[in-house]
């Protein structure tokens, strides 16, 4: 197991290098060079001033050296200062990660708590109304864009029925970290986060369950007179849940992308909202920092997923 973890960590190094290379290429070959980005709107500068700025940013040096500098800075998580707040970008991200994590983790738990039972239900009632209903709603969840769902939530449950707040983390004046006020504000964003999983888990689990329920050991369990609850709940479900781990990578990737959408719709001060605001303000260091940090976190969560999978299913680590 230790060797598997080590190998998986080493495999991540080229990926991280690739991510840095791609973002570097994009910035260097775009028509918006860093000097222009930094001086957005300022037109009273002479070409000499621009050249001086370019030199101070190291832009007059050969590209490989610039890239090496960039890698070195990124490895030390030094993304430079925000053009607007004049604070280190990484610091601004660190402040906001807990807010995003709060939503993402709750969303994942909610989608598992709802999605897994729905999948089992669909498998047990295969071909009947419950099955059709569950499958149709999960297809609908895939087809409807996240932001449209979020806007519908705000429009109907927020604005028209006034059941839920339409944004932010707390009512103004409240500052609590975890209390009913916060929970009340979390309902909308969490449901939106959970949507990604809800579109996938029921369908996946249904197929898994159907496959497993048709296997010999289930027939054996039934024929020796085991109660159906135990057959489904213990014998079948435990094996059906194993491959769910593989889905977590894709779900997390959706969640990272989705954080921009969810947090800008519900004005939730997480890293997604930070990326949105910084991109609107053309605050490039912050955008870049958010992208790199969330990509690194995503790669890390892929590794954790693989380790978890190898841990629950020994065939993986022995097979390789």
């Amino acid at each position: 197991m230790g060797r598997y973890v080590l190998r998986r960590l080493i495999q991540a190094i080229p990926t991280l290098f690739g991510i840095m290379l791609l973002t570097f290429i994009l910035t260097r070959f775009s028509p918006a060079d860093p000097v222009r980005l930094m001086l957005a709107g300022q037109t009273d500068l002479t070409p000499e001033d621009r050249a001086a700025l370019a030199t101070s940013l190291g832009l007059d040096r050969p590209l490989p050296i610039q890239f090496a500098d960039y890698v070195w800075d990124t490895v030390r998580l030094d993304f430079g200062n925000s053009f607007y707040y004049h604070r280190p970008a990484i610091q601004m991200i660190a402040e906001r990660i807990p807010n995003t994590a709060q939503l993402a983790v709750t969303g994942l738990v909610v989608s598992l708590l709802i999605g897994v039972p729905l999948g089992i239900l669909a498998a047990l009632y295969r071909g009947r109304a419950a099955d059709h209903g569950i499958r149709f709603s999960s297809v609908l969840a895939t087809a409807m864009p996240d932001f449209f769902l979020g806007l519908l939530f705000i429009l109907f449950l927020g604005v028209q029925l006034r059941w839920f707040p339409i944004g932010s983390m707390n009512t103004i004046g409240e500052t609590c970290g975890l209390c009913w006020d916060r929970v009340w504000h979390m309902v909308g964003p969490v449901l939106l986060y959970a949507n990604g999983g809800l579109a996938v888990f029921p369908r996946f689990l249904r197929t898994e369950m159907l496959e497993i329920l048709a296997q010999d050991y289930i027939r054996t369990a039934r024929s020796k007179g085991l109660r159906e609850k135990l057959v489904v709940g213990t014998h079948a479900l435990r094996n059906a849940l194993i491959p769910v781990v593989t889905l977590l990578g894709g779900i997390l990737a959706i969640a990272f992308s989705g954080s921009v959408i969810v947090e800008s719709i519900f004005t939730w001060p997480g890293i997604g909202r930070l990326a949105f605001e910084a991109a609107n303000a053309k605050d490039y260091p912050v955008v870049q920092a958010v992208v790199i940090v969330s990509s690194f976190l995503l790669v890390l969560s892929y590794i954790l997923r693989d380790i978890a999978y190898a841990w629950v299913d020994p065939r993986i680590r022995i097979g390789k």
Binding site: A32, A143, V159, A253
Partner: protein, 315 residues
């Protein structure tokens, strides 16, 4: 009427299987038996026709351009009692919502189609060659896939939107260049399986070149499943384009796209809820239809895979 025709017609009436007539025509025949898929195809076809004919429709049916403002009719609610141009109401500066929806369809569908075409081409070329040659080239392709999968898609598109001026063509190109990993993974995996088949080994034995083996023996076999995936990809690209345009980093106004029509709508929950509902429903229904078509195509192209997507009933 000859007796043979009568027998043939009786066969059709009894639902007896038609005589096989080649892979693709068989597939089309199966597809035409599938009502859900035909309805979805009809809807998408209608959308494409409306998008292509947006200029004509705007000029002769609705008699209004997508940029024409009528400030006396801002936030007009949808109603069939209105003149055709305002059947779906008007937006915050009194532009015809239905005409903007048509022009938005043009952008969204075109970006969806061309980006998916790019992804399909790149994914197929890289996936098949990596799967066939293995070795260092496979490592390079896998490295590119893991790199692109390591960056959340929407963040990558935000960076691109920030650094480049995006019009529909360049947006489609970027989505195509950055999003082919799914296709490549599929093509690579399929190629691994096909390259060990006896007929491929036989072709290699008699000295067929790698290019010929890939083009004549492997690609035709994996094409059906790739086509199915391409349909799903179009849907995925439409969702991605609408998301990035909704955030304001994709297609820029005044060119309407379904995504950026929603951006403007978020300020008017009270005055114009239809401004959220109209483009949102258009995106959702189109994407849903594309998923259904993908599923129907899968059944038609490979009956053995029937029901594996789980989108529709297992038969």
């Amino acid at each position: 009427m000859s007796s043979q025709t009568v027998v043939a017609e009786l066969n059709v009436a009894a639902g007896a299987p038609r005589r096989a007539a080649g892979f693709w025509s068989d597939a089309i025949w199966r597809l035409r038996q599938d009502r859900t898929t035909m309805v979805a195809l009809g809807f998408v076809g209608l959308m494409v026709a409306a998008a292509l004919g947006a200029d004509l429709l705007a000029e002769h049916v609705f008699r209004i351009s997508f940029a024409k403002q009528d400030l006396l009719r801002t936030f007009e609610r949808p109603s069939l009692a209105n003149e055709p141009a305002f059947w779906l109401g008007a937006d915050n500066i009194g532009r015809s919502e239905i005409v903007r929806l048509l022009y938005g369809a043009r952008v969204s569908l075109a970006v969806g189609f061309f980006a998916a075409l790019c992804q399909f081409t790149i994914g197929l070329a890289l996936g098949v060659s990596a799967g066939y040659f293995k070795g260092w080239w496979d490592d390079v392709v896998v490295w590119m896939i893991s790199t692109l999968n390591g960056i959340p898609t929407l963040y990558l598109l935000i960076i691109v939107g920030l650094l480049f001026r995006l019009d529909p063509v360049s947006l489609a190109l970027f989505i195509g260049l950055l999003g082919w990993t799914g296709e490549a993974n599929l093509a690579r995996g399929q190629t691994f399986a096909w390259r060990e088949r006896d007929f491929v080994v036989a072709a290699r034995t008699i000295g067929a070149t790698p290019g010929r083996i890939m083009l004549r023996h492997i690609v035709p076999n994996i094409l059906p499943i790739m086509v199915v995936t391409a349909t799903i990809t179009i849907a995925g690209v439409i969702l991605a384009e609408s998301a990035i345009s909704f955030l304001g980093f994709g297609i820029q106004p005044p060119v309407p796209s379904w995504g950026n029509m929603l951006t403007g709508a978020t300020g008017y929950y009270y005055k114009g809820p239809h401004l959220i509902l109209v483009p949102g429903v258009a995106i959702s229904v189109t994407v849903l239809c594309l998923y259904l078509i993908g599923d129907g195509l899968r059944d038609a192209l490979d009956p053995r895979l029937r029901g594996t997507t789980g989108v529709r009933r297992k038969r």
